[in-house]
Each structure stands twice: as C-alpha cells, then as structure tokens.
C-alpha cells in the first residue's frame, strides 16, 4: 500500500545542463551509457510513480522500473520519435506491470464483467466504509482495472484510446472502468455525487 509519496524532482538544475530527450536518445543509441543515465535521471521518477500506483507495492514498482529502462535500452533503435520519449517509456512500463501481474497471478480485468466483479470484490483494497481517505490512499483501494485506468488517465493524462491501447482493452472497457473508479473515489473521498460524463 502506498503510504507517502515523494515530491517531484525538477527536470534539471543550474548545475545540470539540459539537453533535449532527442539529443540524449541519439547519443544513447550510439551506445553512450551516460546519456542513457541522464535519460534515466530525467524520467525514472515518472516511470516509478506510474508503476507504484499501478502495482501498489514499492518492491514490484522498483522491479518494473528497472525492467522498463533495461528494455528501453535494448529497444532504443525502435524508438522513432513519433511520441515523446516519456510516453514511450510509459508504454514499456505499463507492459512490464501487466507482464508482472500475469506472471505472478494477479488478476487481469479485460472485459466489462470483470470490471463489475472487481468493484464488488472484498479483496480489493482494505476499504472501511464511511472512512474519508486522502486521494492517494483512496486510489490505492480501487479495484485493479479501475485503478490502472484512473492512474493512466486522470493522473498521467492519457486519452481513452491511449489507455485502451496501453492496457490492451477495448475503449469501451476503459471508459467503464474509469466511470466505476471515479464513482468509488467520490465515495471514499467523501465528495458529492456528480453526473459523470
């Protein structure tokens, strides 16, 4: 369970000259490990944050973050620059989280029924009805499928289509999970009901 989260690290400082991701990627492609380390320093916080919120466990989030960067290094030549480098990393990270879940028996919800089931599942989070939680804790108590969608969409700003593509689910499923997740969050945060669009 997530307890406390760190503060964001600025993307550079007066002592750290800023090169664009594109320049660093080009150098890393040529085998420059220090350029890749700089990319790691710039992006690891966002990748780890995503993994932590999706997995809810620091140790798994660390593993997924490491694997994300190892895989990114191996596949740098495949990065075409159509999307931002950070977005590309996030796609890899989501894939690592899903792979970990598959390999370690975590349920994967990929259809509408599963969304409904998950919402009713008492194993999902330790939610005590009536308790008003902070948003991070409330997020962590969401069912897995809804949590993934809410994290990707509401926290990291991806579109329905992007989230559906990342998670390998239908756009409709993604919307249903978001709707369910937001409804549960309102309840758990003690926020008034509103019409969800």
């Amino acid at each position: 369970m997530i307890t406390t989260l760190g503060t964001p690290e600025p993307r550079g400082s007066a002592e750290t000259p800023q090169l664009s991701d594109a320049a660093l990627v080009k150098a890393a492609r040529r085998g420059d490990m220090r350029a890749f380390e700089r990319l790691y320093r710039l992006h690891s916080g966002r990748v780890y944050g995503l993994c932590l919120r999706m997995t809810r466990r620091h140790d798994i989030a660390e593993d997924c973050t490491q694997l994300t960067f190892v895989r990114a290094w191996k596949n740098l030549s495949a990065f075409e620059g159509r999307s931002a480098f950070g977005t590309w990393l996030h796609r890899i990270a989501v894939n690592e989280v899903l792979t970990h879940a598959r390999n370690h028996g975590t349920r994967s919800e990929s259809d509408e029924d599963a969304v409904t089931d998950a919402a009713e599942d008492p194993r999902e989070g330790a939610y005590d009805a009536g308790e008003v939680m902070d948003v991070e804790r409330a997020l962590a108590t969401l069912p897995e499928g809804s949590r993934r969608v809410v994290v990707l969409q509401a926290v990291y700003g991806y579109s329905h289509e992007e989230v559906a593509d990342m998670l390998g689910v239908a756009v409709g499923t993604c919307k249903a999970q978001l709707h369910r997740g937001r409804k549960l969050l309102r309840e758990r945060l003690g926020l008034p009901e509103v019409e969800e669009s």
């Binding site: 760190g6 690290e9 000259p17 090169l19 664009s20 150098a27 320093r41 490491q66 509103v194």
Partner: protein
C-alpha cells in the same frame, strides 16, 4: 458565470506524477544492461588525447578515401567523367565547438565533406535521401550539444557526446565512401 472545477479532478490533478524511489535504481539498471549486452567499457584516454585521435581519424579517413577514389576512378577508364554530381540538399555547416581539434581538423573535414557531396550524388535517390537525413540529424545534434557545451564547457558528458557525434559523422563519411566504391566496382 464561472465554472467550478470538479473536486475529484482537482484532487487527482493535485497528485505528483513524479515519485522518487527510496533508493537509486540506476546501478542495477546499468548492471543488467551490461550483463545483457556485454557492453565494453572503453578505456578512457585523456580528453585532449581523444580530440587528437578524432582529428587524426579524419585525416586518415580522407587519405584512405582519396586513394580509393583515385584508384577506382582510373580503373573505370573515364566512365565517371560524364556524371555531374548534384549539390547535397540540406547539408548545413555545423558549428563545431571543439577548439582542441585545430585548423588541420577543420581543413580535412571540409575536404571530406566536399567529397561526401560528390560521392553521394552517385547513389540511388532513396539511399541518398536517407544518408542526407542521417547527416542532417547528426549535425543538428552536434549543434545542440556544442551550444550547450559552450554554456557548460567543463561538463564531461557533453564533451563525450560531442566527440561521439563527430565520430558518427566520420563513420557516415566512411560508409558512403565504402558504399560508392562498391557501386563503382560493380559498374565496371
């Protein structure tokens, strides 16, 4: 009429996207990469030595290139004389930041660049376009790194990156040289 933001959106929007792990994961990432790829760690010579090596490499490349070119050209018995090389589109001069390279380097590089333009004209349009794009990419990267290096002249990573970019440009020249030589021999 003012629209109030949904408090749930406000709460979610207030979350930091960045969360730093409790420990530095880079050493393990690096170790995994090195184990997987068996990346060779090159022995570093002094920075000045590296610049000199690069300059020497350019001079060597142009010498080798010129020799191959002359030999191949003679063996073609004048076939090439009918071909008029087209100007290289999009090749922009790069502002190199390495003062350690010296005037010899720049003279040699200019000559190599001129020969590159001449040789690339003999290649098929698709190949030529790709090479021109690659060269333009390299020069854009070199310009960006050189500009950043001017502001942070003692940054070792920037120095390495600039050197690495110059080497890549040199390799591109060498590849074109080899490619055109092969093409010319095939045409014989």
């Amino acid at each position: 009429m003012s629209e109030r933001r949904d408090p749930l959106d406000a709460a979610l929007g207030g979350l930091h996207q960045t969360v730093q792990p409790a420990r530095d994961l880079w050493p393990e990432v690096r170790a995994a990469i090195e184990a997987d790829q068996q990346v060779e760690r090159r022995t570093r010579t002094s920075s000045f030595g590296q610049w000199r090596q690069l300059a020497a490499g350019v001079v060597l490349a142009i010498a080798a290139s010129a020799t191959t070119y002359v030999v191949t050209r003679e063996s073609m018995q004048g076939q090439l004389a009918q071909e008029t090389p087209a100007p290289l589109v999009g090749a922009m001069p790069v502002s190199f930041g390495g003062e350690q390279l010296g005037a010899d380097y720049f003279r040699a590089r200019e000559a190599l660049d001129a020969e590159f333009e001449q040789r690339i004209a003999a290649l098929p349009p698709a190949t030529r376009a790709k090479l021109e794009n690659d060269l333009a990419d390299l020069r854009r990267a070199a310009n960006e790194i050189a500009a950043t290096l001017a502001q942070h002249p003692s940054d070792p990573l920037l120095q390495d990156l600039l050197l690495s970019t110059y080497r890549s440009e040199l390799k591109l020249f060498a590849d074109v040289n080899e490619m055109t030589t092969r093409t010319l021999r095939t045409d014989l």
